[in-house]
Structures are given as structure tokens and as C-alpha cells.
């Protein structure tokens, strides 16, 4: 499964390292985290990580392989 998660604002490089398993790219006031997601547990874990780092998740979607 591949997912992309859009969060509000430009993330610092430091904070992006909190998602070492994902790549990231900035675009128009948002940061897009993307990459392989192992399973549901991983997916919910990523959401929880966003939440605990105070990130606002705008969109989360599965992307074709």
C-alpha cells in the first residue's frame, strides 16, 4: 500500500525526520508525506504521530503503486 498524507504548513527538516519511513515534499503551503505503508496498524500509527506532533492532517489517501 502506498499513501500520501497532506499536512498543513511547511514542515521543518527536523520534524520530517520523525517520519523516516516516508518521503516528503512541500507544495503551496502544505507538506506531502508519501511512501509505503505496511498495514492498517502502521496507517493509524502515522495518524497518531501526526496528532502528537501537532500537525494538521488535511488529506490522506491511498495512491496507486
Amino acid at each position: 500500500m502506498r499513501y500520501e498524507i497532506r499536512v498543513d504548513g511547511h514542515m521543518s527538516e527536523t520534524l520530517a525526520k520523525a517520519f523516516p519511513e516516508l518521503e516528503h515534499v512541500m507544495m503551496s503551503g502544505q507538506t506531502v508525506l508519501f511512501g509505503p505503508v505496511v498495514d492498517e496498524a502502521h496507517l493509524y500509527g502515522l495518524l497518531a504521530r501526526c496528532r502528537s506532533l501537532g500537525l494538521r492532517v488535511l488529506e490522506m489517501r491511498r495512491v496507486p503503486e
Binding site: 498543513d8 521543518s12 527536523t14 520534524l15 501537532g54
Partner: protein, 892 residues
């Protein structure tokens, strides 16, 4: 949720002994404290007013993202409430229901709700007994004024059963409980139902967000004055997010031109907390940055612990200043601090970038510091996080906590923690930990290997390491007991006793479970050897405790004491002890019924003696269900005996013989196991009409075991040899301890023999005496075994007083009097809930459904629901019958 009608008709648990604290940890009291508001906290009246509705609704949910200001809002509200509030900050380790409820109950008690003490306390990490929750709900329901309970960081609770249990308590506590959940995620409670009933107060992100006016005031508190447009822009940029505004204020405060700084921030596109926190952090002096990054591995810290992590001595004033400036650090009271959870997470990201690879070292330092000052569980967690398993195992063993693998709230947690220990960890302590885990899993082979490793390493190490040696002796005693090796158990227990003198009394006092386990294992091993008096001494010592940490050994000991009573012919005493074990287990919510398997076997054997065969079967089934493989030879032999006795009583001597033929593996032989098996075998042969074989089977046992001598006499009678029978009975040694189950059979055998010899008067006198004794103990089986002559004797005699239940009528099932755990079969009579009792009581006063509803402030439908479930529990269909039945069961 069952009737625990014991002899005294008292089914309320005893209050725990004074000073029994399931947490055993004053350090954790910071979790019960209402958090302190910083000087710059802004009280927002609209939110306070909304929260005031929490006093009228069962459930309140303050649901918002990290840093939305939820905790401080509720803390401020609670502090100004002017009535006690129970506060619990949920911890990540509260995932196990038993642990969660132990903390929550402690929080209730800490708030002054003293009546909660009667509720009991879970002693098993993994479970909480339903009866305990029902008692809690009933206690709360009976309060004059509702108790407000705040669960902060409730999002950390992920176990679905905890939400169910909370929902249950909330529902049944009625107006006695006002629950406030502070959470980042929506809890899995049936919120729609509360919403529909209008019993939910909800404060969510949108409401928590700061308005421009509030933001302006907040900034002023930080010494920043901005024009209304600037404030509005800032609120827009941060969406009124409390953490964002707070960081803004801090960052601006530290800049040379706050106004311009904030304008630039507004125009930027950075993620808010991330960016601002980096800004605030950057402006701290380098040593302070270093300190903040280091302590971010800790949940809570005090200056001394922070010193240890930072390698300096002056963090006290720095932390105080950070707290004063409202920068990251929150004060928990008693000089303990924590980082705001959001900031701790982001600081963690910075720490990993700035100090890659430092984390294990920080955990190691924390563990070192905590080892002598903090709770064991925290020390172990940091030791494990540091990956230093040798150290972690040593901390556990040196703290004498090895017994906690087997009993108490920490057993599950310890097992999980050390499951991560890699196989290449060396040291005797690591091997002891492995052996403990294996023994608790009944993996004897591996346990023996690791125990041997530990023993050798300790021998090589020379003198000292008393804690490790004592732990080794404890595990040795257990291993010996499980393999049925009484000699080895005695030796190990002696070693343990000697070693205690080498350890500080204060350390030993903290671990009552250690001697309790030791005495239990020793007593069980002695019981196997047939040394009943010595076994009793050890088991009684183990059964004397009262705390939750000793609940499991206590249950095991009571079960073994009950077995001794049964084996020596005292069924009623055996039953009392077994019931005491069950009641105690229920009180401490022991879900692991490990200690209770034997208890049920003893009850089954007693039930057979009383000819309550269905009950006996149910009890046996239960014992087999909870322990498919008997853990020790005592249990294994007891199961064989009880099972064969039941089959015999059911008229299946062939099956009984088969059962009695199964072998019980053990290192040493057990005289009673052999004798009582021989007894069943002999009885079975007798039942199949082979009296000679029956006599022969008992040849060895006669003279050793009174019950066997009596059985042999009966076999001689069946073979038509009353003289031989009388000869045996005459030589029955006079023994004080012989119980009625033996005496009744001996009297009956003698009566029959004398009768055959043509002395009906003496026969009648003896039979009368036997009947009187049997009646006292409600023993029917010996009377039925005695055969038709007894019936004839009775028929020709005026002495036709009813024997228990009569010789033909079946007594009523006794299972109903057993506590919950005894009857998870179809025979269950559940205990009535507090509400159902309320309804029944009013029913007894001839009130109508409508009147009851009005009196209880509930709807008619609710009353009907309670009635229906009370009917079901009582097994009746009508009001009159329900009242009658409830009175009969002394439930009203």
C-alpha cells in the same frame, strides 16, 4: 455479579488492610494531582460556564487536538469547583484493565471518596472482575452528592474493554458519578446515546479555539500588546490554537521587535508548532536547549533526575525559570515536572537529529537514577529502552521482585517487558528471569536448564548477591513443587530462610509476596509427600496475608488446606476453606484462575460425598476448563480421585477403574495419592461384585490410611466375612484427626457387621450414631454406599428422622451458595445489580411499576428492564415469586 451467600450470609468484601496500596508508590501520586495552572493561564468564562454543565450530565467530553488547552481548562475548572474531584492522568502503561482500575480506584480514594475502600481492588493486571465494577457503581449510586471524576489523556486508553467497563460503571452509578474525559480522540463510548438523552456535555476544538479578544488578553499576559488587526491575523494563522498562540507569545517575547516578528510569522507557511518551537528552543541558552532535549525522553522528572541526565548540578533553577516563563515545562507538584506532551514529542524529533544515538545513554542514566529512588516499573522500562538487559534483570532481581512474575498487578507487564530480552543476555539474574517466565508458563524443562545456569554462575561468583540467591531458592522451591519433589523443596526453602538474614528488612518488608509464594510452594510439596501437619503449617502461614499481591498464593494455599481437610475426612471444613478462597479471589478480581483449579476439585469431591452429583460434574468440568493440564501433581492426583469417585457414584465402576489407572507423573511418590486411588479402585471392584479383589487392592494401604481400613472391612463384609471386618475395625488406630467422613463409614461398617452377627440392638445404636454424624456433615454418599440393610434397619426402627434431604429426596443444588467463579456453568444465579435490588425492594413494598419509576427517577421502561433481568437472574416469572425468591436467597 453473583450471589456470594457464604455461611455468614455476608457477601460484602472486607476492606483491605490498612496501608495496603495496590500501587505501592507515593511517587505516582503526581498522577492524581490536579495540574497546576501557570501564571500566564487565561481563564475563559464561556468555557467555564459550559463546563459547569458537567455537574448535571453523566458524561463530559473535552475533545481537542494536542495543545488545545484541554487539560488546563478542566484543571482550572476543577480547582475552583469547591468540591472534591478525583483526577487521574492516564498513563501509557494503564492498558491492562486491572491496572487501569487499580489506579482509578486509588484516584477516587485519594479524592476522599472513602466508601470506595469497600469495593476491593484488582490484584490481576489483565482483568477486573465484574462484581467489583458493580460494587463500585453501587457505591457511587448511593452517594448524596455526585463525585466528579476527571480522566486526563484518556486517548491513551486503547483497550476496548476498558471503555465498556467505564460505560457500565457510568450507567449503573446513575447520578452518583460525573465523568469528565479529556481526550485527543473520540472515546469508544456510546456517545450518541448520551447525546440523545441530553446527558453529554461536549467541548470540542472549535469551542476551545481562542477568539481574537481572548488571544489579545493572553498576549497581554505575556507582556505583548498588539493592535486588533494583528491579533485577528494571528488567530487566523494559528486557528486560535492555544499551543500555537502560546509559542507565538514566547517566540515574540524573546525577539527584539515582537510586532514585526509576529507579522513575519503570519506571512510564513511553516507548520506552526514545529516552527515556533524551534524558534523558542533556538533562543534558549545552549545548556538549557541541551537540558530540554535530554529530559524529553522522560515522562516526568525532578531537578535531581534532570541533573543526572544532563550531567550537571544546577537544573533546579533552570527548570523553575522555564516553568515560570511557561516555556514547555509544567509543574506537577512536589518538585516534579513534565514537558507538555506536544512539546515533548517535537523536542524528541529535535533530539534525535541533534544527538543521534544518545537515546540509549539517556535511558541508561534515567534507569540508574531511578533504580534507587523511583518506582521499579519505570526503572525497568528505561533499562529496557537502553537495551541494557543485564542491568534490567539485575535491577528486578536485586529488588526481590522476581515473585511479581507470578502474582500481583505487575505480572503481565513484567512478562511482556522481559519477553523482549535477547537470548544472548548473560548473567545469573538474566537466567533467573528466564526461569521465572518459563515456570509461570509451566515450561519446566527450560526452566530447569536456566535455573541450573543461574545456580552455577552464583556459585562461581562467590559470596554476596543474596537477592539473586534468594530468588533462585524461591524458583527452586516452585520447580520442586511442580515436579513433586518434596525433598528438594525443603532444601530450597531452608536455603531461602537462611538467605533472608543477609538482606535488609526494609527490602523484605516490601515484598510480602515472596514469603507467601515460598510457603505455598513448600506447603504444596509437603502435602504431596503426605506430611499433612507440616504442610498445614506452611500453607496456613501463606493463607494469613490479606493484600492483593499475595492473593494468588493465598488462594492456592487455601485450596491445598481444603484438600487436606477433605483427605482427612472433614468435608464441611474443606468446603469452608474452598469457599473462602473463592470469595477472596473474587474480591481481588483474579482472572487467572490458576489458584482455583484445586479449589473446584475439592468442592467436587465434597459434592460427591453429599451425593450432589450434577454439581460435582459442573465443578469438575470447570476445573478442567481452566486448567486443561494440571499444574502440579497434587492437582493432577486430586482430579483423578474426584473424577473416579464421581464415576463410581454414577454407577460406572468400569470407567472409574480406567480413570484411577491414569498415572500422575511426579519425582517422588505420594502416600495419600496412592491410598486414595487404591480406595476408589477397591470400591469399584466391590461395586462390580469382586470383594476379594477389593480386599487385595487395599492390602498395602490397610493400617496406613484409616479410610482404606474401613473400606477393606466393607469388602470383607461383602465377601461374607463379618469377623474379618470387625477384626480390622477393632484395630483401627484411635486417631484424633479422623474426620466424620471416615467415622461415619466406620460406624456403618461396624453396624452392618454386628447386625450380621445377630446383635440388632448394637447395630441400631451404631447406625443411629452414624446417621447423626452424617446429618451434621450432610453426607449422603456413605449412607447410599452402605446398601439395602440400612434401609431395612431404618424401616423397622422408630428412628426415622430424616437424614439430610431424606434417603430418597435430592437436596437442593448447593452450587448456588458458591461465589461467582465456581459457577460459570448453566447453574449460575447472578448477583442482582444495585438498581435491580432497588427495584425489588420497592416491589416488596407493593409499589407499582410507575411508582417505582417515579421513586427512582427513572423511566417506566427502565424499571421494566431491571425487573426483567432480575426475573431472569432469579429464575422466576412473576412479581410475587421474585420477591419471595429474593428473600429466600437473602438478597433483600
Amino acid at each position: 455479579m453473583v450471589s456470594v451467600v457464604s455461611e455468614r450470609g455476608d457477601n460484602r468484601p472486607r476492606p483491605p488492610a490498612a496501608g495496603v496500596d495496590p500501587l505501592g508508590d507515593p511517587f505516582l501520586r503526581t498522577r492524581f494531582a490536579v495540574p497546576v495552572r501557570p501564571a500566564t493561564f487565561l481563564r475563559r468564562q464561556r468555557l467555564v460556564e459550559h463546563l459547569d454543565q458537567a455537574l448535571d450530565t453523566a458524561l463530559t467530553m473535552v475533545d481537542g487536538c494536542a495543545g488545545a488547552g484541554k487539560t488546563l481548562l478542566v484543571a482550572d475548572w476543577a480547582a475552583h469547583l469547591g468540591r472534591p474531584v478525583a483526577w487521574l492522568t492516564v498513563d501509557a502503561c494503564d492498558q491492562a484493565p486491572g491496572v487501569f482500575w487499580a489506579y482509578l480506584l486509588e484516584a477516587l480514594r485519594a479524592s476522599g471518596a472513602d466508601e470506595i475502600r469497600d469495593v476491593g481492588c484488582p490484584a490481576d493486571a489483565g482483568a477486573v472482575e465484574h462484581g467489583l465494577l458493580a460494587r463500585l457503581a453501587a457505591q457511587l449510586n448511593g452517594r448524596d452528592r455526585p463525585l466528579t471524576v476527571v480522566l486526563d489523556e484518556y486517548d491513551r486508553v486503547t483497550a476496548p474493554e476498558i471503555a465498556d467497563q467505564l460505560g457500565f460503571v457510568l450507567h449503573h452509578a446513575g447520578r452518583g458519578l460525573r465523568l469528565v474525559l479529556v481526550t485527543r480522540t473520540e472515546p469508544t463510548l456510546p456517545l450518541h446515546r448520551y447525546r440523545a438523552d441530553g446527558t453529554l456535555t461536549e467541548i470540542r476544538d472549535a469551542e476551545l479555539a481562542f477568539t481574537p479578544e481572548e488571544a489579545a488578553t493572553l498576549l497581554e499576559l505575556h507582556g505583548l500588546r498588539l493592535g486588533p488587526d494583528a491579533v485577528r491575523a494571528l488567530v487566523e494563522r494559528t486557528r486560535g490554537w492555544a499551543a500555537g498562540l502560546r509559542l507565538c507569545a514566547l517566540a515574540a517575547q524573546q525577539s527584539s521587535d515582537p510586532g514585526t516578528y509576529l507579522k513575519e510569522f503570519e506571512a510564513g507557511q511553516s507548520t506552526i508548532a514545529d516552527f515556533l518551537l524551534a524558534e523558542v528552543l533556538r533562543r534558549q541558552p545552549a545548556p538549557t536547549q541541551d537540558l530540554l532535549l535530554r529530559v524529553s525522553v522522560l515522562d516526568r522528572f525532578c531537578p535531581d533526575l534532570a541533573n543526572a541526565l544532563a550531567g550537571r548540578r544546577d537544573t533546579g533553577p533552570v527548570l523553575a525559570e522555564l516553568h515560570r516563563a511557561n516555556a514547555f515545562v509544567e509543574h506537577l507538584g512536589h518538585s516534579w515536572y513534565r514537558l507538555h506532551p506536544l512539546f515533548a514529542e517535537i523536542l524528541g524529533a529535535h533530539r534525535r537529529v541533534r544527538f543521534p544515538g544518545l537515546e540509549p545513554e539517556l535511558h541508561r542514566r534515567a534507569a540508574e537514577w531511578l533504580r534507587h529512588r523511583g518506582p521499579l516499573s519505570d526503572t525497568l522500562a528505561h533499562g529496557a529502552a537502553a537495551g541494557d538487559w543485564e542491568f534490567t534483570a539485575r535491577v528486578l532481581v536485586d529488588d526481590l521482585a522476581i515473585g511479581q512474575f507470578f502474582t500481583g498487578l505487575h505480572s503481565d507487564g513484567l512478562g511482556e517487558l522481559f519477553a523482549r530480552m535477547p537470548p544472548d543476555t548473560t548473567g545469573p539474574e538474566a537466567d533467573l528471569v528466564r526461569a521465572a517466565r518459563e515456570l509461570s508458563d509451566h515450561d519446566l524443562d527450560h526452566a530447569h536448564v536456566h535455573l541450573e545456569h543461574a545456580r552455577r554462575a552464583l556459585a562461581r561468583a562467590g559470596p554476596g548477591r543474596a537477592a539473586a540467591r534468594l530468588s533462585c531458592a524461591l524458583l527452586d522451591t516452585l520447580a520442586a513443587r511442580l515436579t513433586g519433589a518434596p525433598g528438594r523443596a525443603e532444601h530450597a526453602a531452608r536455603t531461602a530462610r537462611e538467605l533472608r538474614q543477609d538482606l535488609p528488612a526494609e527490602l523484605l518488608d516490601r515484598h510480602p509476596e515472596l514469603p507467601a509464594l515460598l510457603q505455598t510452594h513448600l506447603g504444596a510439596a509437603r502435602l504431596w509427600a503426605g506430611h499433612f501437619d507440616e504442610a498445614r503449617a506452611a500453607l496456613s502461614a501463606a493463607a494469613a496475608g490479606s493484600g492483593g499481591e499475595t492473593a494468588l498464593p493465598r488462594e492456592e494455599s487455601l485450596g491445598r488446606l481444603a484438600l487436606i481437610d477433605y483427605l482427612t475426612g472433614w468435608p464441611t471444613r474443606a468446603e469452608h476453606k474452598a469457599l473462602a478462597a473463592l470469595t477472596d479471589a473474587e474480591r481481588f478480581s483474579l482472572a487467572e484462575p490458576a489458584g482455583l483449579g484445586l479449589v473446584h476439585l475439592v468442592l467436587a469431591a465434597v459434592a460427591v460425598d453429599r451425593d450432589e452429583l450434577d454439581d460435582a460434574q459442573a465443578l469438575l468440568d470447570w476445573a478442567t476448563a481452566v486448567q486443561p493440564v494440571p499444574p502440579d501433581p497434587v492437582t493432577a492426583a486430586s482430579r483423578v480421585i474426584a473424577q473416579a469417585r464421581l464415576q463410581l457414584a454414577r454407577g460406572q465402576p468400569g470407567t472409574a477403574l480406567e480413570t484411577a489407572g491414569s498415572t500422575v507423573p511426579a519425582a517422588a511418590a505420594s502416600p495419600w495419592a496412592e491410598d486414595h486411588t487404591a480406595l476408589v479402585v477397591s470400591d469399584a471392584h466391590l461395586a462390580e461384585g469382586r470383594p476379594e479383589t477389593a480386599v487385595k487392592v487395599l492390602e498395602d494401604a490397610v493400617g496406613r490410611e484409616a479410610a482404606c481400613t474401613v473400606a477393606a472391612a466393607r469388602a470383607h463384609l461383602a465377601a461374607g466375612d463379618p469377623d474379618a471386618a470387625l477384626d480390622l475395625l477393632d484395630h483401627l488406630p484411635a486417631e484424633e484427626h479422623r474426620g466424620p467422613a471416615v467415622t461415619v463409614r466406620a460406624l456403618l461398617a461396624r453396624a452392618e457387621a454386628v447386625g450380621r452377627q445377630g446383635d440388632p440392638t448394637t447395630a441400631r445404636r451404631l447406625a443411629t450414631k452414624a446417621l447423626a454424624e452424617a446429618r451434621r456433615e450432610r453426607l449422603r454418599r456413605p449412607l447410599l454406599e452402605a446398601g439395602p440393610w440400612l434401609r431395612r434397619l431404618l424401616r423397622t426402627d422408630a428412628l426415622r428422622e430424616p437424614v439430610p434431604g431424606g434417603l430418597t429426596a435430592r437436596p437442593e443444588s448447593r452450587l448456588r451458595t458458591l461465589p461467582h467463579t465456581a459457577r460459570q456453568t448453566a447453574l449460575v444465579v447472578e448477583e442482582l445489580s444495585g438498581r435491580e435490588r432497588d427495584v425489588l425492594r420497592r416491589l416488596a413494598r407493593m409499589m407499582s411499576t410507575e411508582e417505582i419509576a417515579a421513586d427512582l427517577f427513572v423511566s417506566v421502561n427502565t424499571v421494566k428492564t431491571h425487573l426483567k433481568s432480575a426475573y431472569r437472574k432469579l429464575g422466576v416469572n412473576r412479581r410475587g415469586d421474585a420477591v419471595h425468591r429474593a428473600r429466600e436467597l437473602r438478597l433483600l
